[in-house]
């Protein structure tokens, strides 16, 4: 029960925030991808760096249990799937999550994005067995699979950089993200 209250509070806040930062607006997403309006690029870069820095600091001081993290597997399908995702992203200007908040905010074309998404996900579910047999290379692990760059302290997820403390590695990456967000201009291309 407690979990469901958290789901409502965190999910509700997430939808609220996605709308307030402009991520529910396809015009802002397409502007980001066309490099003519980098507002969302700056937001996302800063958000990743900022949350990462705090996460590794709080894990270092045992405030956040390392058992809460979940590092996803790396395999060829992550890159290929990302590219297929990119086709839809560049065409429609929505993500699986932003389209939900966008519908709540009154963007009715989201209904069709969500329907297309339900069908696309189901076609993948149906094709999965065939894909694993005909294109097994898609599922070949990269660099060991569930790996992170920085040591997280969770033994399920080996780190690629072990000579330096995880906090330092993650901290440097986080500062690069936040610095990048700060120096990135508002646009790289005109019109």
């Amino acid at each position: 029960m407690n979990q469901l209250i958290l789901a409502v509070l965190i999910g509700g806040s997430f939808g609220f925030i996605l709308h307030k930062v402009g991520a529910t607006n396809p015009t802002k997403i397409i502007g980001f991808l066309r490099l003519t309006d980098l507002h969302l690029a700056k937001v996302i870069l800063f958000a990743i760096g900022f949350s990462s820095l705090l996460l590794f600091i709080l894990m270092y001081f045992n405030v956040i249990p390392t058992s809460h993290i979940s590092v996803k597997s790396s395999y060829m399908g992550v890159i290929v799937g990302g590219a297929i995702f990119g086709i839809g992203f560049g065409l429609g200007g929505y993500c699986p999550g932003t389209t939900l908040a966008a519908l709540g905010a009154g963007r009715k074309d989201s209904i069709f994005m969500i329907l297309g998404g339900l069908i696309g996900a189901w076609v993948y579910v149906m094709a999965y067995g065939w894909l694993t047999e005909t294109m097994p290379w898609l599922y070949d692990a990269i660099a060991g699979g569930k790996v992170s760059l920085a040591q997280t302290g969770n033994e399920s997820y080996p780190a690629l950089i072990n000579e330096i403390s995880g906090l330092l590695v993650a901290g440097v990456i986080a500062l690069l993200f936040m610095g990048g967000a700060t120096i990135l201009p508002n646009k790289l291309r005109k019109i």
Binding site: S52, F85, A150
Partner: protein, 189 residues
């Protein structure tokens, strides 16, 4: 009209939402829930897709005739049979969050673009039918790709790179290598 937050405020608050989620429960992810919704719908039509067995010692186990749904001891089947679970309630709550944000200070979505976003109107036209087809096709590619990749913008890109997961950087590279040139080609204005 523009009641959106500036980039720094946006970045801090968006980052905090990902941090709070992992601190209290687990990293944010969305695209899995499309499979849960699908299984809820389609598994009713084909019951062999969602099998529930109770062993003599009272333990319930879930399985499926489909190789994907059968993964991880049928966790997708289990969630779809019990939609009142964290992940599904989370995504349903996102609708309400978007609704509240548009009502509480905005930005409101203009009536003129409630079906066809301005960027689409300027480049492709104001035909609602074209946008519906475009949004549907876009959704198809997005979720097919996200399921092949094992996550989407929130799970791979945001939560993933927050944890310095290699998969997060690989996913982001795959997405932007295609999405940036494609958006530049399709949308000239």
């Amino acid at each position: 009209m523009n009641k959106s937050w500036g980039w720094l405020k946006s970045g801090i608050i968006l980052g905090m939402s990902f941090l709070i989620a992992v601190a209290l429960v687990k990293p944010i992810g969305v695209s899995t829930q499309y499979v849960i919704a699908d299984c809820y719908i389609f598994c009713q039509l084909k019951p062999e897709l969602a099998q529930v067995d109770t062993s003599p010692d009272g333990k319930t186990s879930y399985s499926s005739s489909n190789a994907y749904l059968d993964k991880s001891n049928g966790k997708y089947v289990k969630s779809s049979l019990n939609l009142a679970n964290y992940g599904f309630v989370f995504v349903l709550s996102m609708f309400a969050g978007g609704f509240l944000a548009s009502k509480l200070g905005g930005p409101k979505v203009d009536k003129e673009e409630s079906w066809v976003p301005y960027v689409w109107q300027e480049n492709i036209g104001s035909s609602g039918m074209k946008r519906m087809i475009g949004a549907f096709v876009s959704g198809f590619f997005i979720l097919f790709g996200a399921r092949l990749a094992g996550g989407c913008t929130s799970g791979h890109m945001m939560s993933g790179m927050m944890q310095t997961s290699l998969s997060g950087y690989l996913f982001a590279a795959g997405v932007f290598v295609i999405a940036v040139p494609l958006a530049i080609i399709i949308f000239k204005r």
